[in-house]
């Protein structure tokens, strides 16, 4: 089952790559605008051997890791707190509501003004781009928690701290992972956007430079790498999720639907 699942994934990717390879080669798409996959692959190896690719990749990875870690470290506890103690709501809600719709690129001018050029504005943009989304998500998830299990904990002698630690937090784990995964996707979007203007290194910078020099292959190398890195990090998170939340197995709606409608 597991095997055939990943096999199907590879099949889908294979079909996509085949199309990518064949369309420019047949001349249906101008290879200058979309070089075939093999050319991009070749260029990736070249750039990798040449060495400059690693520096860009590492810069982007580092920014994503830092920005994402900072935003998670703040948004998760704050979200739980605001979710549990509604008294802060009237103050927080309008503020978050104002900030959240601001798309991450909207922060770029200010970020450059504040932090100049380099890692800092990029990390800052990842932070603001993921923080408000994670925060609202965790607040909502905390509010959705049932009071019943808390009553059980209290009746068994729990104090407030124990109730939060042993009941609220485990109950929030599925939501935490869901929002971490969303946040990670957002972080990769932010890093590329910010690197196109605010830094002199990173995958986004490499792509912009390639566009100026009309090296379409290099643009695509960047896109492939970002996609791959995002995919791998998401896979890591999902694996971790599977280890932490073993108890969700067999409870989800999709499992019933699958069993019922797949003959």
């Amino acid at each position: 089952m597991k095997f055939s699942h990943s096999l199907r994934g590879m099949l889908a990717i294979g079909a996509f790559l085949f199309g990518w390879e064949i369309l420019p080669r047949l001349g249906w798409i101008d290879p200058l605008l979309l070089p075939p996959f093999s050319a991009v692959l070749k260029r990736t190896v070249e750039l990798g051997l040449e060495g400059s690719l690693w520096g860009h990749m590492f810069s982007s990875l580092w920014r994503v890791a830092l920005g994402f870690a900072l935003s998670g470290a703040l948004a998760l506890p704050l979200g739980v707190f605001l979710g549990l103690f509604k008294r802060a709501d009237p103050y927080v809600e309008p503020l978050v509501g104002l900030f959240r719709p601001l798309a991450p690129p909207a922060w770029i001018p200010l970020a450059i003004l504040w932090f100049g050029i380099g890692d800092k504005p990029s990390v800052f943009i990842i932070f603001v781009g993921t923080f408000f989304s994670t925060l609202t998500g965790i607040i909502a998830a905390t509010r959705r928690l049932d009071k019943d299990l808390l009553m059980v904990a209290f009746t068994l002698g729990a104090n407030l701290k124990q109730a939060i630690w042993h009941v609220v937090l485990p109950g929030l784990m599925p939501a935490v992972f869901a929002h971490l995964r969303i946040g990670l996707g957002l972080a990769w979007m932010c890093v590329v956007a910010s690197e196109m203007v605010a830094v002199k290194r990173g995958i986004g910078f490499m792509m912009m430079e390639a566009r100026n020099l009309f090296r379409t292959e290099d643009i695509l190398v960047g896109m492939v790498l970002v996609g791959l890195a995002g995919f791998l990090m998401d896979w890591l998170l999902r694996t971790l999720e599977g280890k932490v939340i073993r108890w969700r197995k067999g409870v989800s709606a999709h499992e019933l639907l699958e069993a019922r409608f797949s003959q």
Binding site: D148, L149, M151, V152, A153, F154, T155, L156, G157, A158, N159, Q162, H166, V167, P170, G171, M173, I245, R246, W247, R248, K249, G250, V251
Partner: protein, 248 residues
């Protein structure tokens, strides 16, 4: 001696459709070690009553005494409430669920394991230690909930229609198990039920409540030896009597 004593207790809830008085000038004494059944029309405030006795909510007025002293909102597992649904922690195994209260008390792993394995035997769930709640049947989940409550060794067990959601056969098995445990450990039990038969099979005293706001309508003392079963002719008579009392 009294275990729990409710003196002139009032409780009301504010809802969008106005104020609902659930308990008004409510008096009740629960004796230590007795098995008391609470019976009343649905919605009469039995669950509220149990939450108050469990210290989960404070009364609006009047007082609740536990062993002669005012009941605190933190009961340290001395008074444990068992709910209609088992409400197991889905992220904990059977073992983890039963040991939950012990972990809160800060007991060591070894101690917890000993107590839990004793309880597993008592409720007949040996071999299911590592199972998660969603892997158990309804009846088994109720037994885990019972074991989890017993683990903290409470003085009082409050039970809110604990077996209402299981089938008749499972329910009988659970009732037997409960009686067995009660006779063994002699805890004070306050048991809310809709079933007259269940009350008659289990209880030392049956307390009949009025519709909302609830007050005690009648108290019956059953001096009939256990185990009782359907063959006892007294059951039918009592059932009639109780039914008349409830409907009048």
């Amino acid at each position: 001696m009294n275990s729990l004593k409710l003196v002139s207790v009032n409780k009301a809830y504010e809802s969008e459709r106005g104020r609902i008085e659930v308990l008004k000038d409510f008096h009740l004494e629960v004796k230590e070690g007795e098995f008391l059944a609470l019976i009343g029309p649905s919605g009469c405030g039995k669950s509220t009553l149990l939450r108050l006795m469990a210290g989960l909510e404070p009364p609006d007025g009047g007082s609740i005494l536990f062993k002669g002293r005012p009941l605190e909102t933190k009961t340290d597992g001395k008074i444990v409430l068992i709910f209609q649904e088992p409400l197991l922690f889905p992220w904990l195994t059977v073992e983890g669920n039963i040991g939950f209260g012990l972990k809160l008390k800060g007991l060591g792993q070894k101690e917890i394991k000993d107590i839990v394995s004793g309880l597993l035997k008592k409720v007949g769930l040996e071999g299911f230690e590592k199972f998660y709640p969603h892997e158990l049947s309804g009846g088994m989940r109720h037994r885990v909930a019972l074991a989890r409550a017993l683990a903290v060794n409470p003085d009082v067990l409050l039970m809110d229609e604990p077996f209402a959601s299981v089938d008749a056969i499972t329910r009988e098995a659970l009732q037997e198990k409960l009686l067995e445990i009660w006779e063994d450990a002699r805890k004070t039990v306050v048991f809310v039920t809709h079933s007259l038969k269940e009350a008659l099979l289990l209880a030392d005293r049956i307390c009949v409540l009025t519709p909302r706001p609830a007050t005690v309508k009648a108290l019956y003392e059953l001096k009939v030896p256990r185990p009782r079963n359907g063959k006892h002719s007294f059951l039918a008579e009592w059932e009639w009597e109780l039914r008349r009392e409830l409907l009048s």
